[in-house]
Amino acid sequence: MNTPKRRLTVAERDRALRFRKRLTVSSGIAGGVAVVALAALSAHTYAGTTTATSTTLTTTTATSSTAPPSASSSTAAPLATGAASSGSSSSASTVSGAS
């Protein structure tokens, strides 16, 4: 047996509308925060490898009120390439080996 529905009072309706508005605003803020966080995360991604774990995130958090000193892990330059040609043992002045 269904319970007869009661009409909302004006005060109850306004309270519900205010709640819905707060919910919408909160969701928007949370979404914005998520977007910013994802953008920051992608900015700290290097060569397909995410580096924004504890090191980088700590950097961001710890320095948010000042000019951010970049953590070394987020700005790594790639390995510098070199070139070798054939040499002569009679001209060799040193040996590269392990020590």
Binding site: T55, S73, A80, T81, A83, A84, S89, S96, G97, A98
Partner: protein, 311 residues
């Protein structure tokens, strides 16, 4: 090629300074020795009075300000870890010690009683936070860092640069235990470097030799710095994933790069990465020579082919 050379010891290994102008040798050697002393007093984990030892003794969740030299060494080590996805990781200090490498290698007993070895990944380089702008570093308690993998190569680069700055023209080559950096104007035919597994090997007539004009060469190997505990052979290249001496198809890897640090990073990472190393070195554009455990040699990335030595 007429060059002048000076040999000595540093970091428990052979130090060599070679210059194109014999008149420059003394000045170049002095500049190199100053850099070596600076690196040793800051980065050595075998000196109780080193800046690194003092830093680690007080390690914990607080920031410490470090010297420019130690800061550079830490930044170099963290960069190595990042570029190799952690294959070269400075937080292997505890693992190296657990494997029995507790003192300078020259004083390490070649044989000894059994030790307990357990598979345990190292803490990981991301545990370390370093701020270059303020030279502050944060190391959690219990994390031991060992800068040995990259600090010696950094010393070669800095020493070669310092020696070159101290000279009026000409070129200089610095070798610290086979980690080689060159600076300044090279000889006309380049710097000729013989490749071996052990940097103490003599130069031999038929030895594979390459020529470089800039940058650096480094070799990493599991065949040197070995010791035995309980009859088990151990070596100093730690696989961060296991915390144990790396088990690799490669026993020795030599790499040519734009500087000695990068050559060292790539050579050590190749040992740890194992079979995947050749493709990685190729994609990085780094000339490399890899010797497998049976002695077979692979050359990748533009490394000169075998038998191509000039007369």
């Amino acid at each position: 090629m007429t060059v002048a050379a000076h040999s000595g010891t540093a970091f428990g290994t052979v130090m060599q300074v070679v210059v194109t102008d014999p008149d420059h040798l003394e000045r170049a050697t002095s500049a190199v020795e100053r850099v070596i002393e600076s690196i040793d007093v800051t980065c050595s984990r075998f000196r109780d009075d080193s800046e690194l030892s003092i830093l680690l003794a007080g390690a914990g969740r607080h920031e410490s300000t470090v010297s420019e030299t130690l800061g550079q060494a830490i930044a170099t080590a963290l960069r190595a870890a990042e570029l190799t996805d952690g294959a070269v990781d400075p937080t292997v200090g505890g693992a190296v010690r657990n494997a029995g490498y507790t003192v300078d290698f020259g004083a390490l007993a070649p044989d000894g009683a059994p030790i307990a070895l357990t598979v345990h990944p190292v803490p990981g380089w991301r545990q370390i936070t370093y701020f270059p702008a303020t030279r502050t570093v944060e190391i959690p308690a219990g994390v031991e860092i060992d800068l040995g993998a990259t600090a010696k190569a950094l010393a070669s680069d800095l020493a070669a640069a310092a020696a070159s700055d101290a000279l009026d023209g000409g070129g200089v080559l610095v070798s610290l235990g086979g980690d080689i950096a060159v600076a300044g104007l090279p000889p006309d035919e380049g710097w000729h470097v013989q490749i071996a597994e052990d940097s103490r090997a003599p130069i031999v007539r038929d030895g594979e030799t390459i020529a470089i004009r800039s940058g650096g060469v480094a070799t990493s190997s599991t065949t040197v710095r070995r010791w035995r505990r309980g009859g088990v052979e151990l070596h100093h290249i730690i696989d961060p994933a296991t915390g144990l001496p790396a088990i690799s198809p490669w026993r020795t890897v030599s790499v040519v790069a734009g500087n000695c640090v990068d050559a060292n990073i790539a050579a050590t990472a190749a040992i740890v990465r194992g079979a995947a190393a050749t493709a990685w070195l190729e994609s990085a554009g780094l000339p490399a020579r890899l010797v497998d455990r049976s002695g077979n040699v692979s050359r990748v990335g533009g490394w000169p082919p075998a038998g191509a030595q000039t007369s």
